[in-house]
Symmetry: C2
């Protein structure tokens, strides 16, 4: 049990050459039944476990797919990672996760490490690596990106229409009679945040509602910033009856801030989020939000990588955002 058995040891024990054992292991060629059986018996007896490193070095394929995520503990990315796991399951390829923390340097290091490890393909989830860097990686191995859109590599990018999602969220509030709708935006430099803000503005414009800069505060996509922004909104001079937060985590923070100020959701203030995290169905009240099919996105991206690895052209299904109506919004009360 102590040290590991090698191919050569198996070959000797079974009375065949290492090549033969290798061929049986990989199904690479026909082998006589007797030899096959003899080998398979010793394989089991010795409990042989191939050395993945040697295999990768010799064969040129590691069966590893590098997955660059941003935060290993993020509920949002976590869901995508599960999708990736599922999409890869049974294919023989295994994911190798690494986090970039939205830090260009860290991301670059992670990508380099993955490449040094000779991953056969790469899956990128968000991040801030410049397009050029990603394009370079794509030149070396099959690459699929989630949450990004690389020019020239459109067919390898999976990105939902954030602008449209934000539009739906805001329009929903407008349809309920709200005219003074605050927006807690995400990190200003993030493309997703920009798109969501744009969708919000578009819906307002569509309804002939003027844009009020005082009603838009920037957050950082985390709970606390939603709490802070909402506290400021309530204490500020701007009037509002609804809030559209650029993601669910900030909506959670907003909800708590309203609670602290004695404002009820949805009776006093309506609240909408974005993402539809697993927890959003269990907040009180359950959160109305824009669903991003993250899990499916992870799966689809993994499948696409598999296709490319098999020499086929990339193909990604169209995935739509969807407004999920729960209980955090209500018709604006007269008065």
């Amino acid at each position: 049990m102590e040290s590991s058995v090698t191919l050569a040891q198996v070959a000797r024990a079974a009375g065949v050459s290492a090549s033969t054992v290798s061929r049986i292991l990989n199904g690479t060629a026909n082998v006589s039944v007797e030899k096959r059986e003899a080998v398979e018996r010793t394989l089991a007896q010795l409990n042989y476990q191939p050395n993945v490193l040697a295999r990768g070095l010799a064969g040129g394929r590691t069966m590893n797919v590098g997955v660059l995520t941003q935060d290993i503990s993020s509920p949002f990315y976590g869901e995508a990672l599960r999708g990736v796991e599922q999409g890869l399951a049974g294919s023989g390829y295994v994911p190798v996760f690494m986090s970039g923390h939205w830090h260009e340097k860290e991301e670059t290091e992670a990508i380099d490490l993955l490449l040094a490890r000779r991953v056969d393909a790469m899956l990128i989830l968000g991040g801030v690596t410049p397009d050029a860097g990603l394009r370079e990686v794509a030149g070396r191995v099959p690459l699929v990106a989630i949450g990004r859109s690389l020019p020239d590599l459109g067919r390898q990018c999976l990105r939902v229409d954030n602008r449209h999602g934000a539009f739906l969220a805001t329009r929903h509030l407008i349809e309920l009679g709200h005219r003074s709708i605050a927006h807690i935006a995400g990190i200003p430099s993030h493309r997703d945040a920009q798109d969501r803000l744009e969708g919000y503005r578009e819906a307002l414009a569509d309804a002939g509602i003027g844009f009020d800069p005082d009603l838009v505060l920037a957050g950082d996509f985390l709970e606390h910033s939603g709490f802070l922004a909402t506290t400021r909104l309530v204490e500020g001079r701007g009037f509002f009856t609804a809030i559209f937060a650029a993601n669910d985590q900030m909506a959670y923070g907003a909800r708590l801030a309203l609670h602290r100020k004695g404002l009820r959701v949805p009776e006093d203030i309506s609240l909408v989020g974005f993402d539809d995290l697993a927890g959003s169905a269990y907040t009180c009240p359950p959160l109305t939000t824009v669903r991003q099919p993250v899990h499916e996105m992870g799966r689809a991206a993994a499948r696409c990588v598999l296709r490319m690895l098999a020499g086929q052209p990339p193909a990604l299904p169209p995935l739509q955002v969807q407004l999920v109506l729960r209980e955090s919004t209500a018709r604006r009360r007269a008065g």
Copy 2:
């Protein structure tokens, strides 16, 4: 940029042997300044990236630490993984994550894969692999386990006192005047669930409160089971004024069920969870719970692995559970 530069190419370009380049890369021996400079220049020029596979195969060390987690998207394990990342940061070792989903077969496969990959050490987070299996792994590589206690390997196991945590939670409710306290337990076969149930019973006994089996329902540690259990409790004939859920996720479900039944927290029913997930500070009301320092546990486990890798004996700091008082509990109202 296309294909990768090898050590041999660098050596040739710099006019030295491969051995020398290797030594410079690894700081293995003294090298004359001129050669060192020449090599370092070409290294940079050619943008050399060592092949990790070859390195691992030749050197016998991969600088990889296998990390077996259960669910890559779990908020609880996710926090621990972040701790592991941090604990390993800067050490040169990188974590390789794999999920077992509390499935013995999957766990075994994951562990075997990690071993086939020649990880230098292993970190185990929970799971259902029998002690014997883990002991065997521990015989091959340095191993640290979180959330398990392996006989004979106590110094390599990090596990909080679940019984005590549950005791604290229950006693807190008792001190607030509650006498009819329901418990939503975890999966009966899980050691953690058993210990927490035990702590609950102990606190009751300590206070001279009789144990009422009707007030204990089993869940599966997920939100929905907490919702279901609570709904059944409210609809059942048993009287209760407080609930202690065996983890925060079930407490979230319980909170929603109470909300649906028109019961207020904490005015009508007090609620306590276990774990102190990141989200628990943002529920409405913020959840009183038993804090497990998961992040610190991940860090400490990683540090311990590093110690063992350096040839030192394992050492793990004592980590305590702690009752975090927030706003989901209140003194039992008269009547």
